[in-house]
C-alpha cells in the first residue's frame, strides 16, 4: 500500500520550523506522501534520517530513467494497483522497433516516421517515446553501425539483442546515452549484467512465463548491485494472452501488496509479438497489436514495444494511455473566462461552452478548423462536460450571468446575443432571465458551430 502522511511524519524532525516552505512538518509529510514536494526541501534531517525517509518514500515500483538529457524518459514509479487509490505515474512509454538489417533509406524513413508521429487530444500532444533497435541481422558490426546512426535521433533508445558481443559493440557506440539493455536471459545473465554495470545502463530481464525463475534472476542482478531493472515476463498472443495477463497482474501485486523486492520494477510488454508468424493481413495484425497493447496498458505495462506505425492503430492506444494516466485527484479543466478566435471587433459573435478540458479543446479545435471569428465564454463547471454539468446544475443561469459580468464582455461587444451548446437547451430560459441576453440554442455538436456563427449571428 502507498505510504501515508503519518508514516512520513513519524520520521520528520517535528519542529515545524517551516524551512521547507510548508507551515508544519505534518503539512510537509502530507505533500511528500502525495509526491507533491521533494524530500531535499527539509534541511533539518541528518543523512541517516534522510536515507530512511527516502526508503519509506520509495515507490512500490522503482522509477527508472532510460536515455539522458533531453532524450530521457521515466518508466515505472507506481504505488497502487488501482488508479482511483491515488494515481498512476509515468505514462507507459511506447517504444517502436526498428531492425538493423533494413536498407539505409528505409531505416531513415522509419526513424523519421517514429519521431514525427503525433496526435493532439485535449490540448496535449501525444507522441511516441523511444526506438527499440533489434539485432535482426544477428551481425555484430551491423548492430553497432545501426546504433551509431540512432545517436542523432531525438528519442531514447532500447538495444535489443541477447548476444553479449553485439550488445557490447552497440554500447561502445551509444553506451554513454543510457540506453536500455534488452536484455538479460537465463543464458547470458552474467555477461549482460557486467555490461550494465560497466556502462551504467538500465537492463531488462527477459524470463518468459516463469515467475519463479524471474524472481531468482532478478535477485542475481540485485545482488550484483544493479538497481535499474525492467522485467519482461514475455508477451504471448492468441491463446497465450491470458497467461500474459496473469503474469503481469501477479508481478504487480507482489510489488505493491507484498513489497517483494525482486518484483518492485517496471514491467515491459511487447505487443509487437503480434507481427511474428502472422498468417493474417497487415490490417488485422495491426488491430490485434492495438488490442494487446490496450490489454497490457490496462493491466500494468510500464513500457511497451510496438511494431505498427499506422496512425489509426496508435490513436486508440495513445488515447487509452492519456485516459488511464490522468490524475483522478485533479479536475481535467481549463481556466474559465473569455477566449478570442480569429479577428474580433465589437460586432463579433459570442458563444458559450464549459471548462471541461475535453469539451473546451474540442470546441477550440472546431472553431479554428472552421476559421471562425468571435468570442468564446468558458464557464467554470469544475471541469464537467456540457450535458454532465446541465444534469449536475453547475451549468445554470446565475453562473452564466456572473461569467458575463466577470469577463466584461458587455464592454467589448455591442451584441447581447449568445449561442449556447445544443445540450444546454434546458437552461436557455434561465440564462435569458438571469443575464438579460438573448440566447440562441446552437447545434449539438461543435463541429457545426463555425458555420452556425457565420450564418445565424
Amino acid at each position: 500500500m502507498a505510504v501515508t502522511a503519518m508514516d512520513v511524519y513519524r520520521l520528520l524532525p517535528k519542529t515545524n520550523c517551516a524551512k521547507c516552505g510548508e507551515a508544519s512538518c505534518m503539512a510537509f509529510a502530507t505533500k511528500l506522501s502525495e509526491k507533491e514536494t521533494d524530500l531535499e526541501l527539509c534541511t533539518q534531517l541528518s543523512a541517516n534520517e534522510a536515507d530512511k525517509l527516502a526508503d519509506v518514500l520509495a515507490p512500490a515500483v522503482r522509477e527508472i530513467m532510460i536515455g539522458k538529457g533531453n532524450k530521457a524518459m521515466m518508466v515505472g514509479g507506481d504505488e497502487v494497483l488501482y488508479r482511483y487509490e491515488l494515481t498512476y505515474y509515468n505514462p507507459t512509454p511506447l517504444v517502436i522497433d526498428i531492425s538493423d538489417d533494413m536498407d539505409p533509406a528505409e531505416f531513415e524513413e522509419r526513424v523519421k516516421k517514429i519521431e514525427g508521429t503525433e496526435f493532439e487530444r485535449t490540448g496535449e500532444l501525444l507522441t511516441l517515446d523511444a526506438i527499440a533497435l533489434r539485432n535482426k541481422s544477428g551481425d555484430v558490426s551491423k548492430f553497432k553501425e545501426a546504433a551509431e546512426k540512432l545517436k542523432s535521433s531525438k528519442l531514447a533508445l532500447v538495444l535489443c539483442s541477447f548476444d553479449p558481443e553485439a550488445m557490447k559493440a552497440a554500447l561502445e557506440a551509444v553506451g554513454d546515452e543510457r540506453p536500455l539493455i534488452y536484455g538479460a536471459t537465463e543464458n547470458n545473465i552474467e555477461e549482460m549484467a557486467a555490461l550494465a554495470l560497466e556502462y551504467n545502463c538500465p537492463i531488462a530481464l527477459f524470463v518468459p512465463n516463469d515467475l519463479e525463475k524471474m524472481k531468482e534472476l532478478s535477485r542475481i542482478l540485485r545482488t550484483k548491485g544493479i538497481k535499474d531493472i525492467i522485467l519482461d515476463p514475455g508477451t504471448f498472443v492468441n491463446d497465450g494472452i491470458g497467461d500474459t495477463l496473469d503474469n503481469f497482474v501477479m508481478m504487480r501485486r507482489l510489488a505493491v501488496e507484498e513489497r517483494d523486492d525482486d518484483f518492485r520494477f517496471p514491467i515491459l510488454g511487447v505487443p509487437a509479438i503480434a507481427w511474428l508468424d502472422n498468417g493474417e493481413d497487415d490490417i488485422n495484425t495491426a488491430i490485434k497489436e492495438a488490442t494487446i497493447a490496450a490489454t497490457l496498458m490496462d493491466k500494468y505495462a510500464d513500457m511497451m514495444i510496438i511494431h505498427g506505425t499506422e496512425i489509426w492503430e496508435l490513436i486508440p492506444v495513445l488515447t487509452l494511455r492519456q485516459s488511464v494516466y490522468t490524475d483522478p485527484r485533479k479536475p481535467q479543466a481549463v481556466d474559465p473566462g473569455l477566449y478570442e478566435f480569429g479577428e474580433i471587433n465589437e460586432d463579433s459573435p459570442v458563444a458559450l461552452t464549459t471548462n471541461f478540458a475535453l469539451t473546451y479543446y474540442t470546441v477550440e479545435g472546431d472553431l479554428k478548423a472552421g476559421k471562425a471569428n468571435g468570442y468564446l465564454l468558458v464557464l467554470d463547471t469544475e471541469g464537467r462536460a456540457v450535458d454532465v454539468s446541465v444534469a449536475g446544475s453547475q451549468f445554470n443561469g446565475k453562473a452564466v450571468a456572473d461569467l458575463i459580468k466577470e469577463t466584461g464582455i458587455e464592454d467589448k461587444v455591442k451584441t447581447r446575443k449568445m449561442v449556447i451548446p445544443g445540450l444546454g437547451a434546458p437552461v436557455s430560459g434561465e440564462i435569458e432571465d438571469e443575464s438579460g441576453w438573448e440566447i440562441l440554442v446552437g447545434p449539438r455538436d461543435s463541429s457545426a458551430l463555425a458555420d452556425f456563427l457565420r450564418e445565424k449571428m
Binding site: Y82, R83, Y84, F119, R121, L211, E212, K215, E216, N238, D239, G240, I241, G242, L245, D246, V249, M250, R253, L254, E257, E258, I283, A286, I287, K288, A290, T291, A294, T295, D298, K299, E310, I311, W312, E313, I315, P316, V317, T319, L320, Q322, S323, V324, T326, P328, L358, T362, A385, S447
Partner: protein, 309 residues
C-alpha cells in the same frame, strides 16, 4: 525466499444470472469467486450481445451499416444475420421506434417486433426501450409479456422512470432486469436495493454502471466498475450482480466516426475504438457487452474466452 503466487481470499462472490430459458439456449453471466483466473478458474466466459434495432436506424455509422444494409427493414432478419454470420451469443433488440419523437410505435407493435425476433433466433434476448422514461416501462411490460418465460434481460430500470413497473414485469413473466446507474456506486446500490424490494433477487439483476467511451471519460468507468467488482468480492450483497457494458457508446466518439485524413480510415478506427472500450471494461470485471461491429465482437470474444481458460 520462495516464489508463491499472490492469491487472495475473497469473502464474497458474484451471483450467477441465467439469461435465456424456454425456447432459448441459456447463457450464464457472473458466478466469480475471485478476480483473476490464476486465483480460481473463471466460471463463465464474457458474453457479447449484438445490437439490433426495430427500425432501420438512420444514424448508424457506415462501417456497421454496410454489414447489415440488406436486413435493416426486419429486426428478425437482422438478428438472424448477427447470430448466423457473426456468431453473436445473444441479441439486443432496441425498441427505438417506440420513442414518442421517433415513430411512436405502440406497446403492441413492440410486442410484435419481439415475437418476430424470438421466432428468428434461439439465443437469449436483451430487450431495450427507446430511452423515454414515460414510455419505456409500458413498452417493456408489453415486450416482457410477449416473451413470457424466455428469460430476457429488460433494459433498463433506472431512477428516472417507473422502475417498479419494470421489476414487476420481470417477476410476472420470468425475466431479468438491467439496473442502470450513471457512474455512481451509491446510486447503483440504492437502485439494486429498490429492485430487490420489488421481488427480484441477485440472480435476476444485471448492473450497468455506465460505459464512458475511450477518450470520453473511460477512466471514470474504469474506477467505478473496478470498485463495484471489488465490493462484490468483499461481500457487499447490494453489488454482487454481474455487470454489463454499453460498449456501443464507443461509436459516439469522434475518433470512431469522424472522417479525418490525418487519422486514417474510419473503417479501422471505429472497430478498434469499440474493442478497446469493451476490452478495458472486461478487464475491470464486466460480464456482458452490448456491441455493434462484427470485427469488434469477434476480437473481444476471442480474448474474453482465453481469460476463462
Amino acid at each position: 525466499e520462495e516464489f508463491s503466487p499472490p492469491i487472495h481470499e475473497y469473502p464474497g462472490s458474484v451471483a450467477e444470472v441465467q439469461l435465456g430459458a424456454g425456447s432459448r439456449k441459456p447463457v450464464f453471466l457472473g458466478g466469480q469467486n475471485a478476480l483473476y483466473r490464476f486465483e480460481e478458474p473463471q466460471p463463465n466466459p464474457p458474453v457479447v450481445t449484438f445490437d439490433v434495432f426495430d427500425i432501420p436506424m438512420p444514424g448508424l455509422p457506415k462501417p456497421i451499416r454496410e454489414h447489415f444494409e440488406d436486413v435493416m427493414e426486419h429486426p428478425g432478419d437482422w438478428a438472424k444475420k448477427a447470430v448466423k454470420d457473426f456468431g453473436a451469443n445473444m441479441v439486443t433488440i432496441h425498441l427505438i421506434g417506440t420513442g414518442p419523437k421517433v415513430m411512436d410505435k405502440t406497446p403492441q407493435q413492440a410486442a410484435a417486433d419481439i415475437e418476430e425476433v424470438l421466432q428468428a433466433v434461439d439465443v437469449p434476448l436483451v430487450i431495450g426501450g427507446s430511452g423515454d422514461p414515460q414510455k419505456d416501462p409500458i413498452v417493456l411490460e408489453a415486450a416482457a409479456a410477449a416473451a413470457e418465460d424466455e428469460r430476457c434481460l429488460l433494459a433498463s430500470a433506472n431512477m428516472d422512470l417507473d422502475y417498479k413497473k419494470v421489476a414487476k414485469a420481470a417477476v410476472d413473466y420470468n425475466h431479468a432486469v438491467l439496473s442502470w446507474a450513471i457512474t455512481d456506486i451509491n446510486m447503483q446500490k440504492t437502485l439494486n436495493k429498490y429492485l430487490m424490494k420489488e421481488g427480484l433477487t441477485q440472480n435476476d439483476i444485471v448492473m450497468d454502471p455506465t460505459t464512458c467511451a475511450l477518450g470520453y471519460g473511460i477512466e471514470f468507468s474504469i474506477d467505478v466498475i473496478t470498485r463495484t467488482r471489488l465490493a462484490a468480492l468483499k461481500g457487499d450483497t447490494d453489488l454482487q450482480m454481474p455487470m454489463s457494458s454499453g460498449t456501443t457508446n464507443a461509436w459516439g466518439s469522434r475518433e470512431a466516426w469522424m472522417k479525418k485524413e490525418e487519422w486514417g480510415p474510419t473503417e479501422y478506427r471505429g472497430p478498434i475504438w469499440e474493442i478497446v472500450t469493451g476490452l478495458t471494461m472486461m478487464l475491470c470485471g464486466v460480464d456482458i457487452f452490448m456491441m455493434l461491429h462484427p470485427q469488434s465482437v469477434k476480437m473481444l470474444r476471442e480474448i474474453g474466452e482465453t481469460f476463462t481458460k
